[in-house]
C-alpha cells in the first residue's frame, strides 16, 4: 500500500509543480494577485507530497519490502538499519527523489523568505523553481520511478553495494545535492529579473545569501566526497579528475565566480548581464553534471545504468532549460545597462580577472571532461583524459588568480590607486616567501619548482587577508560578518593551496610484498607486518592484517587494514586503515595473498592531506558566515531612493 501512496504523492507533486510554475509566471505576467497568492500554497503542497513520497520509500526500506524493485535491488534483510535508511539514495531512482526533495526544501525556504520581496518578483522566482521541479518530477515518473513493484516479490534483496555501506553515504550525497540544487535558486532569481526586465542592487542583495549558502554546501559536499573516496576506495588518492568529480567541481568554480560578480553588482551596480549569465551557467553546470552522471555517457568511477531513454530525456530537459534561459537572456540582457565605470586598478577589475580566470578554469575542466565524448562521436577513437592534462591546465588559471587575490582584496572600489598599500603588500609577500620557502626546505629539504611558489602564494593570501581585519580589531572598529566571512573563506583558500602544494610535492606511494615478522621502511616510517587474522562483521567476513608502525624506533600506531567479502554480492572490498601523525596521513591497504606466506600491502604517506578537507570546510564556513550578515536580512522592499542614497554615502 505504501509504495502506491508514495507513487500517488509524486504524481500529485507533479501537478502542484505545474500549478506553481503556471501561477507564478502567468500570474506575475498578467498581474493577477489571487494567482500569485496561490503560488505559496502550491509550494507547500508540493513539499508535503514529496516528503510523503520520501517517507513511503524509507518505510519500504526499513520494513524490508522486497516487493518494491528498487528496495529489492538495493537492500537486504541482513543490512544494518542505518544503511537501510541511507540506501534510499544509494542508487539512481532514490537519488533523484532526494534531488527533488531538496529542491522542494529550497523552494519552501525561498517562499518563507519571500515576504521581504516584491510580490510579483517573488511569484516569478517561485514559478521558475516550479518549472525546474516539474521537469525533474516528470523525469522521475517517466523513466526512474522508485516505486515500481516486483512481481513476484523477491525473497530477499540483492543488498546495497558494499562500497556504499559506509557512513559517508549518509552525509556526502545530501550535502552535495543541497549545493547542486541550491544553484537553482540563483537561476530562478536571474530568470525572474530577466522576466521583469529590471535588475537593481536590491536584486543582487537578495540573491547573494542564497548563492553563497548553495556554494558553501557544494564545497562541503565536494570535500566530503574527496575524503570518502580517499578512505573507502583503497586507492589512496583524494582527487582523480573523474568525470563525476568534475561534474560537481565545474558548478563550484562557476559558483565562485558568481558570488564575486554578485558582490560587484551589489556594491557598484555593475556586471549586471554578466552576473545573470553566470547564474544561468552555474545552474546549467549542475544540470549538465546530472546529465553526465545519470546518462552513463562517460566512463567514471561512479557506475551508472546506461539507459539511453534517460540520457535523451535529460538532454532534452537540459536544452529546454538552458536554451530557454539563454534566449530570455539574449532578449532581455540589452535592457540591463550598467552605467558606472571603473579604473584599471580598481577592485572591479580585480574581480573581473577573478571571474575570467575562474570561468577559464571551469572551461578547461569542461573541455577535458567532454573531450572523450566528442572524440568518440566524431570517430577519432576512444580516448581518456587524466591528471597530465588537468593538473597543468588548471594551474595555468589558478596561479594568476591566487597572485591577483592578495592584491585585489586591498584595491579600492572605482579608483585605481593602491596608494600606500603597495608597501604593505610587498612586506607581506616577502614575509610569505620567507615563511613558505622556510617551511618547504626546513621540513622537507627538497621540492619541485612549483613547491616554493605554491607555499608562498598560500601564505601570502593568508597574510594579506588578515592584515585589514587585524588592523580593525586592534583599533576596536566593528567588523561585519560579510567581511569576516570573506576573510575566513580566503584564509581557507590559502590553507588549501598550502596543503595541495605539500601533498602534490611530497606524497610517497609504495606497494610492497611482506612476510609475517618482516619490516619495510617507507618515508621515514618502519612498518612491521604481523600477519593476518579472520574477522566477522554483521554481513561480511574479513581478513585483517596487523601492521606496527614506528618512527626512529618510537612506536607510532598499530594499523589493521581489512579485506572484506560481503555475503550477498560476494564482492571483495578493501577497508583501508588510516592514521594521522604529525601532519602526515598514513594510509595502509591490504592487497592479496601472494603465496609463500607473503601479502601485498599498499603503503601511502600524504603530508597535510587532511588539511585539504579541513580548509575546504573552513572556506564553506566563511561562506555561511558571510551569508548570515545583517545587511541581507535588513533589505526592505520599498524605498529604492533611500537605498541609493545609502550606497552613495557608504561602501
Amino acid at each position: 500500500m505504501l509504495p502506491e501512496l508514495g507513487h500517488f504523492a509524486l504524481i500529485l507533486a507533479l501537478f502542484l509543480a505545474a500549478l506553481q510554475a503556471f501561477f507564478g509566471i502567468a500570474g506575475a505576467a498578467a498581474g493577477r494577485e489571487r494567482w500569485m497568492a496561490a503560488v505559496t500554497t502550491a509550494v507547500a503542497g508540493e513539499a508535503v507530497m514529496v516528503a510523503t513520497a520520501m517517507a513511503c520509500l524509507m518505510a519500504s526500506f526499513i520494513g524490508d519490502d522486497f516487493s518494491v524493485t528498487y528496495v529489492a535491488e538495493n537492500s537486504n534483510s541482513a543490512l544494518p538499519l542505518f544503511y537501510r535508511v541511507t540506501a534510499l539514495w544509494g542508487a539512481h531512482e532514490g537519488s533523484l527523489l532526494l534531488w527533488i526533495f531538496l529542491l522542494a526544501a529550497w523552494t519552501v525556504a525561498v517562499a518563507a523568505a519571500s515576504r521581504r520581496l516584491p510580490a510579483r518578483f517573488a511569484a516569478r522566482v517561485l514559478g521558475v523553481l516550479g518549472v525546474v521541479s516539474f521537469g525533474f518530477l516528470l523525469f522521475t515518473l517517466a523513466t526512474s520511478d522508485p516505486f515500481v513493484r516486483l512481481d513476484p516479490a523477491a525473497a530477499d534483496g540483492r543488498d546495497l553495494n558494499p562500497i556504499l555501506q559506509d557512513p559517508g553515504l549518509a552525509v556526502h550525497p545530501p550535502i552535495l545535492y543541497t549545493g547542486y540544487v541550491g544553484f537553482s535558486v540563483a537561476f530562478a532569481f536571474a530568470c525572474a529579473a530577466m522576466l521583469e526586465g529590471r535588475l537593481d542592487q536590491n536584486w543582487a542583495r537578495w540573491t547573494r545569501p542564497w548563492t553563497t549558502v548553495a556554494w558553501a554546501f557544494l564545497g562541503c559536499g565536494i570535500a566530503l566526497g574527496s575524503f570518502w573516496a580517499y578512505y573507502e576506495l583503497g586507492w589512496g588518492g583524494f582527487w582523480f579528475w573523474d568525470p563525476v568529480e568534475n561534474a560537481s567541481f565545474m558548478p563550484w568554480l562557476v559558483g565562485t565566480a558568481l558570488i564575486h560578480s554578485l558582490a560587484v553588482t551589489d556594491k557598484r551596480g555593475l556586471f549586471k548581464s554578466w552576473t545573470l549569465l553566470l547564474a544561468i551557467l552555474a545552474f546549467s553546470m549542475s544540470l549538465l553534471g546530472t546529465f553526465l552522471v545519470r546518462s552513463g555517457v562517460l566512463v567514471s568511477v561512479h557506475s551508472f545504468a546506461a539507459d539511453p531513454q534517460r540520457g535523451i530525456f535529460i538532454l532534452a530537459f537540459l536544452i529546454v532549460m538552458i536554451g530557454g534561459a539563454l534566449s530570455l537572456y539574449a532578449w532581455r540582457a540589452p535592457l540591463l545597462r550598467s552605467a558606472a565605470g571603473f579604473e584599471l586598478g580598481a577592485r572591479e577589475s580585480f574581480l573581473l580577472f577573478n571571474n575570467v580566470l575562474l570561468v577559464i578554469a571551469a572551461a578547461t575542466v569542461f573541455a577535458g571532461t567532454l573531450a572523450p565524448l566528442i572524440a568518440d562521436s566524431l570517430g577519432l577513437g576512444t580516448l581518456s583524459v587524466g591528471p597530465p592534462y588537468f593538473n597543468p591546465t588548471f594551474m595555468m588559471s589558478m596561479l594568476p588568480l591566487l597572485a591577483l587575490l592578495a592584491v585585489g582584496i586591498h584595491a579600492n572600489w572605482k579608483r585605481g590607486r593602491l596608494g600606500d598599500k603597495w608597501r604593505m603588500l610587498l612586506n607581506t609577500l616577502v614575509a610569505a616567501a620567507v615563511i613558505g620557502c622556510g617551511l618547504v626546505f626546513g621540513i622537507y629539504r627538497h621540492g619541485q619548482v612549483l613547491t616554493p611558489v605554491g607555499a608562498t602564494l598560500g601564505v601570502w593570501i593568508i597574510l594579506a587577508s588578515l592584515v585589514d581585519p587585524i588592523d580593525r580589531w586592534r583599533r576596536r572598529l566593528s567588523l561585519s560578518r560579510a567581511v569576516l566571512g570573506m576573510t575566513v573563506a580566503h584564509v581557507g583558500l590559502g590553507l588549501v593551496v598550502i596543503a595541495l602544494t605539500t601533498v602534490q610535492s611530497f606524497t610517497i606511494e609504495r606497494d610492497v610484498a611482506m612476510s609475517p615478522g618482516a619490516s619495510v621502511a617507507v618515508g621515514g616510517y618502519e612498518f612491521r607486518f604481523d600477519g593476518v587474522s579472520p574477522v566477522e562483521g554483521p554481513n561480511y567476513s574479513a581478513l585483517a592484517a596487523t601492521l606496527v608502525v614506528t618512527r626512529d624506533g618510537m612506536p607510532v600506531t598499530v594499523l589493521r587494514p581489512q579485506k572484506r567479502q560481503y555475503w550477498v554480492q560476494r564482492q571483495v572490498t578493501s577497508e583501508t586503515a588510516i592514521r594521522m601523525f604529525r601532519g602526515d596521513n598514513i594510509l595502509l591497504a591490504l592487497g592479496e595473498d601472494l603465496g609463500a606466506g607473503r601479502w601485498s600491502v599498499r603503503v601511502q604517506i600524504r603530508p597535510l592531506v587532511t588539511l585539504v578537507w579541513l580548509a575546504a570546510f573552513i572556506m564553506a564556513c566563511g561562506g555561511a558566515l558571510a551569508a548570515s550578515d545583517r545587511r541581507y536580512r535588513a533589505v526592505k522592499v520599498a524605498a529604492p531612493a533611500e537605498e541609493a542614497a545609502a550606497l552613495e554615502r557608504g561602501t
Binding site: S300, I360, T573
Partner: protein, 160 residues
Amino acid sequence: MVLVVGIVAGVAIAGALTLSALRQNVTFFFDPSEVAAGHVPAGERFRLGGMVVKGSLQRAPGSLEVHFVVTDFSHNVPVVYDRVLPDLFREGAGVVAHGRLRGDGTFVADEVLAKHDEKYMPPEVARSLKRRHGESRAQIPPPATLPAASPGAGVAKAGS
C-alpha cells in the same frame, strides 16, 4: 579598452594552451587486435582493454610481479604488472590497463582497472568485442546495482 583587449588576449592564449595540452595528454584505447596489427605508435602510453584469459594469471610465489594475458578472442597480449591488483580483478572478467608496450610485445602496465560486477564489462571492452564478434560475446547484462552519488561504486582501481 586596454582591459578588454588584455582579457581577450588572455582567453585566447589560455584556449590555445588548453588545446595543445589536450592534444598531448590524452590516452587512447586499443584492443589486442589493434595492438597486434601495429596500430599503437611506438613508445606511447595507452589503455589496453579486453578479457583476462582464464588460467593465464601467473605469479612467482611471494612476488608482487604478476603476469596475465588480455584477449579479445582474436588476439592476445601478455601483460606484466608489479603493483596491487584491484579487488575486482578476476580471470575471465573485463579489464582495462594503462601502460606501454615493451620491445618483446609485452604490455607493461602501471595502472589496472576492473569493473565491480563480474558480469559487467568496461564499456570500451564491450564495444570492441561487439565490433569483432557481434552481439554474442558482448552481451552486457545490466549491473546488479546502480550506485548513485558514491565515490567509487563502479570501478576498482589500482595504482594511480
